[in-house]
Symmetry: C2
């Protein structure tokens, strides 16, 4: 097991009817900016619940944060923060709204001229404007971690940021919100959380027995609840397990002491930036090819995953490892998620070369748990995913 | 799944050579009280490592905190805190030293006349004197939770306290400390952590799929590493997994959203108070009888535990559940832990009646996950454990 540090101060408030606890978590004298996305919260009743819960707090609103939170839109929100002397941010939404809010938390206190530098210059946020979240879409785990991914349409870039100042002070997780989420988004959330676990687990054995079992526990739980959530999103038991699994998949716990990969995300982000494919679906496109291409480096963990998660106990290590990749792809397909780039666009010619070039231009010369994934290898993996 | 709130702000610093990071975690201007136990840290080198790591910080020392931290001793430490204007506490030890430090953290800021009231009047500590820990004995999980158990010899009482102000600010976990722990203490630590998980798991199914799997993960890991740790405590891989499992067994995570029992601890504490039997050993004495006595209420979870942790897949629910109790008792025995009260004392006559009376006198009329364990039932369980 590798040495590690772990600190996660976010307060989770989980369960039925928890949105009404909102006002207790925000200082009475705060001036709050309520941030949300495309307005679905106004249709499903969550907006009304939040407004009622906020009571007499002084609240300004900013809606319209798009999926893959866009820098230009966030810069408009930043103007509101400055103009209105906002002191507290409240994200009501999924990963995009929460990630956008994290960017604003950092940008609001940023001393430089161009907040985009936070992303391009890898500036760690030690202290941001305080914020909380009401999660409306389980998927990214952003509600209990300190990372964010921001998109800039102008340059077709999608970059990550983070730092200990970016943990939400609190996150309210009411699994009842899942009842009104469209099936497409549910399938995306399941795929996203599942892949988050794989990125932190599907590397090589390092003797972190408990972290491995925790990762497998999340994968098993997602596999168990996925068909139930899709068949009936009002099934509270399935919804609650889905929601908590998504949070635990990326709150830092399972990555402590182990190597992690994240190459699937790095490649997937480019597919979203180039084609606008849903984030989760890009992961399902890249993951099977990535695991096949890096089979030798990952086969021990693939075989362990085969045995413990998919109950594949027959055959050699190679047999089990390969079968596990097939099972993973079949799982995504069963959720209604296509796993080839050509399922999403007919314009894929040259994509692999373009992504490899972008990685080289950014100086990303060795991704993955062994830092061995060169732009040339990235090109091959993306081609395998056509 | 039940509604829950979860917040655990303790910073964990885990791994080889981490004690040297100590000074960075304590404010430069702090006046530190270094608390420790019977002096084993002076023999095994940890004291020297800590003193070196503390560098130029202003440090006063208080040693001699006994196992089952004793109120009278702690009151002497409280006098030192007041006399020396201490501002920061540092526990270097196992659960007893850390629990004692938590009592002092609370008592140092307590406004009342008699700090014992914190325990007898169940006063929650919202804010205590800040403290950190260097863990020298994995077992209790106290290094990452906000609870403590304090003993008062004078009244033969052993009572619990807690509150959000009692999380350590940081805890340093260097698995290398395990190399010098005597076998008896290692066996105790394994048993203690194992039973902590059982208390939060062996109740009834409530559909908390992930919490169940996390609990099973900790049990499986403890079973896997226990013989290795006992055979060779310098085996770093086994030691690291043992240490992290003990912390995760009682840092709040696995108890969120599920019922918990804790009757084994309640009865066990009385055996320590009456006979001075090691805490962990009292749990191993009580647990098998407790599960047999409450068989019908717990058999579904017992059978799940049988299947997933012990791979017992044959037979009826009752068969599997019963076999799991046998496996648990055998596991304790394999660690060198006796599981009958008569193995520890020949003076056990009347113990069951005495404990039942104490529970009744304290108004503890319904322990366990169903609050159904009356003093009469406690008497029967303790008798079964003779």
């Amino acid at each position: 097991m590798n040495n590690f540090e772990f600190k996660n101060p976010t307060k989770i408030i989980f369960g039925k009817g928890t949105i009404e606890k909102l006002a207790k978590e925000i200082p009475n004298d705060a001036k709050v900016l309520l941030l949300y996305g495309g307005g679905s919260i106004k249709k499903n009743g969550i907006y009304d619940q939040v407004k009622t819960a906020l009571g007499i707090l002084d609240v300004v609103e900013f809606g319209g944060i798009p999926a893959n939170p866009e820098y230009a839109v966030l810069m408009k929100a930043l103007k509101v923060i400055k103009a209105e002397n906002i002191t507290y941010l409240l994200a009501v939404g999924g990963g995009s709204v929460i990630d956008g809010t994290k960017f604003l938390s950092s940008a609001a206190l940023f001393k430089g001229d161009a907040p985009w530098d936070i992303l391009t210059k890898n500036i760690r946020t030690e202290k941001g404007m305080p914020f909380g979240t009401v999660l409306t879409l389980p998927a990214t785990g952003s509600e209990m971690n300190s990372g964010a991914v921001i998109t800039r349409e102008e340059t077709k870039e999608k970059l990550a940021m983070g730092g200990p100042g970016l943990f939400p002070e609190f996150s309210i997780l009411d699994p009842q919100v899942i009842a009104s989420i469209p099936e497409r988004q549910l399938a995306n959330g399941l795929t996203d959380a599942f892949t988050h676990v794989l990125e932190q687990y599907m590397t090589y054995p390092i003797g972190a027995l408990l972290q491995d079992r925790f990762a497998e526990s999340i994968l098993q739980t997602l596999i168990e609840v996925a068909p139930k959530v899709l068949a009936d999103p009002t099934d509270y038991k399935a919804a609650a397990n889905f929601m908590w699994s998504c949070t635990m998949a990326l709150n830092g716990l399972i990555q402590k002491g182990v190597p992690s990969d994240w190459a699937v995300h790095a490649m997937g982000h480019e597919l979203t930036a180039l084609f606008g494919i849903d984030h989760a679906r890009t992961l399902a496109v890249i993951a099977p090819s990535h695991y096949k291409f890096n089979f030798d480096a990952k086969k021990e963990k693939l075989a362990q995953y085969a045995e413990r998660v998919w109950n594949i106990t027959q055959g050699s290590t190679d047999d089990k490892a390969y079968a596990a990749i097939e099972k993973t792809e079949a799982f995504f397909n069963q959720l209604g998620i296509d796993t080839k780039l050509s399922d999403y666009t007919k314009d894929y010619d040259g994509t692999a070369e373009e992504i490899a070039k972008r990685f080289a231009d950014r100086g990303w010369l060795g991704l993955g748990e062994h830092q061995s994934l060169t732009p040339e290898k990235v090109e091959k993996i993306v081609k395998m995913a056509y």
